[in-house]
Amino acid sequence: MIDFIVTKYNYLFYIVLFLIGFYAIIVKKNLVKKVIGMNIMQTSIILFYVSIGCKKDGTLPILLDSDLHSHAIDAGKYLNPLPHVLMLTAIVVMVATLGVALAVLILMYKQYGTLEEDELLKRIK
């Protein structure tokens, strides 16, 4: 058990963060809080991915000068770059979703004057 925590704590962090976000989405009645929960959830996934790329004794995925022209680069020296790339895309997706969600929230607030779910349901005929 201890072994598990010590060697895989990154996953546990991600799970905890994910669950917090998930909880906010399900339980919170305020729509903005739901959106925040959604963001926390997505962020946790991003952290998870980035942690996949981690390598013991690895450095940033930018070639050192010494390796520029070498023919046999030791891949173990550098972090795995792929998850970083994927997460750049995912971050953009997250931001875009946030933007659209907020636009909808703005409209809803203009139209109904509230962002509390219970109140809102009453005002939508």
Partner: protein, 497 residues
């Protein structure tokens, strides 16, 4: 040019979408023709690719010339070649159809609407064509984002429906992303074919089981399978006619297509049957969806809402059919993905016409429409018969294969549920036909011989009528030629179990 056709299917609408605002700034009314051109070109290339796949087999297209699994790859086999044709054709028809309803509903938002509309179609096509799991996620998000906006601009209550959709849809997409991450951590690859090969070694780990479970859960949310359908009826009911005619038939079907891809291409059927009770779960979820969808659809008084619950049931057909896990049922399920996309599109076209003509989409608004719009209602009758499952329309044949598959798999409750759903559809549609037929309960209406029947007719505008008629023709032709589709296309992708 032909060699580049696969990428042009996506890139053409993408570039056209980027330029739509520019065109809109110059001449607003040109936007309509602009996106028609884009979708027509895209559809033409889809057909080219489709023909090529039929002649030469699966096409692999490496984007940027990088060999997979390092670069992104398009893989077009028989299944997604056909899906591409269906998706691009429906998108094109819906674009043609959208003209009058957009002019009526938001005349000053045309440019933005058509841009998002085109992006939505691009997203759908991208999902279908790609052979890379992460690329699929990107396109899934493009289509979802466009979908959120297209729904949110609808009638009263659309905003809240769209918000619910955003939240639930994002959860679905996140689940999918988690699943992809779990697979990546165990295989190190994102390319579907590569993953499929690598998974053979790590099949039996808990990580892969959970990865599959999360991808499945994400897709279930996206395809609105019972009990995860809650976002769907509101969203599609409140959306503008043109949006719901594009999203309702395609979003759920494309998610079902991804499910087929995931189960049969990425995870192999042996994995599915050996490790988890997935097929049983899918079968019973499908069963529950059919029963629930059928019962709820009877309770609706709003036509579009009723259609939404019909979709719930139809998704149950597809998922249950895959869950039966025998070749006949899978054939039926895949055929039903195609048929149902066409049928649902047709039904939402009709809903839009009714809304355009009467301003509402309640069942009672169909009153006397047989007299006023005979051609529209004729198309409606054919589509409805297909949903009910009357030969020779296409809906009959997918149902035939599904029921036969259920008999082969000894899943009698599922076969009974399919028949039950057909019976319910008879009730649903004939209730509307009765309203449209205009029974006169007051006095005996016999006696006045065709008084000015010519002047009563006020058909839907041609841009709305033609797509509906085309859909009804497609329904009959795919019904008659379903054997050709099955032997030439679907049998290539049905696994040998």
């Amino acid at each position: 040019m032909i060699d580049q056709a696969p990428v042009l299917i996506i890139v053409i609408p993408l570039i056209f979408a980027l330029l739509t605002p520019v065109v809109g700034l110059w001449r607003k009314s040109l936007c309509y023709f602009w996106i028609l051109t884009a979708l027509a070109l895209s559809a033409a290339f889809s057909v080219t690719v489709f023909v090529k796949v039929l002649n030469t087999g699966t096409i692999h297209y490496n984007l940027g010339g990088w060999t997979p699994p390092w670069g992104i790859e398009y893989v077009i086999d028989h299944l997604n070649a056909l899906m591409l044709v269906v998706v691009s054709a429906i998108a094109l028809l819906t674009a043609v159809y959208s003209r009058k309803s957009i002019e009526k509903e938001f005349p000053n938002k045309k440019t933005a609407f058509y841009t998002v509309f085109l992006l939505q179609a691009t997203g759908f096509l991208g999902i279908v064509i790609t052979g890379d799991m992460f690329n699929l996620y990107v396109f899934l998000e493009i289509s979802s984002l466009a979908g959120y906006a297209l729904i949110a601009i609808g009638e009263d209550g659309a905003l809240f429906a769209a918000f619910k959709y955003i939240i639930i849809g994002t959860i679905g997409a996140s689940f999918y992303l988690i699943g992809v991450g779990y697979i990546y951590i165990m295989t190190g690859s994102l390319n579907m074919a590569d993953i499929a090969a690598l998974l053979q070694q790590v099949n039996n780990t808990s990580v892969i089981h959970i990865a599959f479970a999360f991808i499945l859960a994400g897709l279930i949310i996206k395809m609105a399978l019972f009990p995860m359908y809650i976002w769907m009826p509101d969203a599609y009911t409140k959306a503008p006619s043109a949006s719901s005619a594009l999203i309702a038939p395609l979003m759920t079907k494309i998610s079902a297509y991804i499910l087929v891809r995931v189960i049969f291409t990425i995870f192999k059927p042996e994995f599915i049957t050996a490790n988890l009770p997935v097929t049983k779960i899918m079968l019973w979820l499908g069963f529950a969806a059919i029963i629930y969808g059928a019962i709820m659809s009877i309770a609706q008084t709003d036509f579009k809402r009723m259609l939404c619950f019909i979709i719930v049931a139809e998704i149950g057909y597809i998922v249950g059919g895959i869950g039966l896990f025998n070749p006949t049922a899978i054939k039926g399920a895949i055929l039903h993905i195609l048929n149902d996309a066409v049928m649902t599109a047709g039904l939402f076209f009709i809903a839009g016409i009714v809304k355009y003509k009467t301003g509402f989409h309640n069942l009672t608004d169909f009153k006397d429409l047989f007299k006023k719009m005979p051609v529209t209602m004729g198309a409606f009758v054919i589509i409805a018969l297909s949903v009910i499952g009357v030969p020779p329309t296409c809906g009959f044949f997918s149902k035939w294969y599904l029921i036969k598959g259920a008999i082969i798999g000894n899943a009698w409750p599922f076969a009974a549920a399919l028949l039950f759903s057909s019976l319910v559809n008879v009730v649903l549609f004939f209730r509307i036909f009765e309203i449209g037929y205009g029974f006169d309960h007051g006095h005996d209406s016999g006696g006045h011989e065709e008084l000015g029947s010519g002047s009563l007719i006020s058909e839907a505008p041609a841009t709305m009528l033609l797509p509906s008629m085309l859909v009804s023709l497609i329904i009959i032709f795919t019904g008659i030629y379903n054997q050709t589709i099955i032997t030439n296309i679907i049998e290539h992708v049905t696994p040998n179990l």
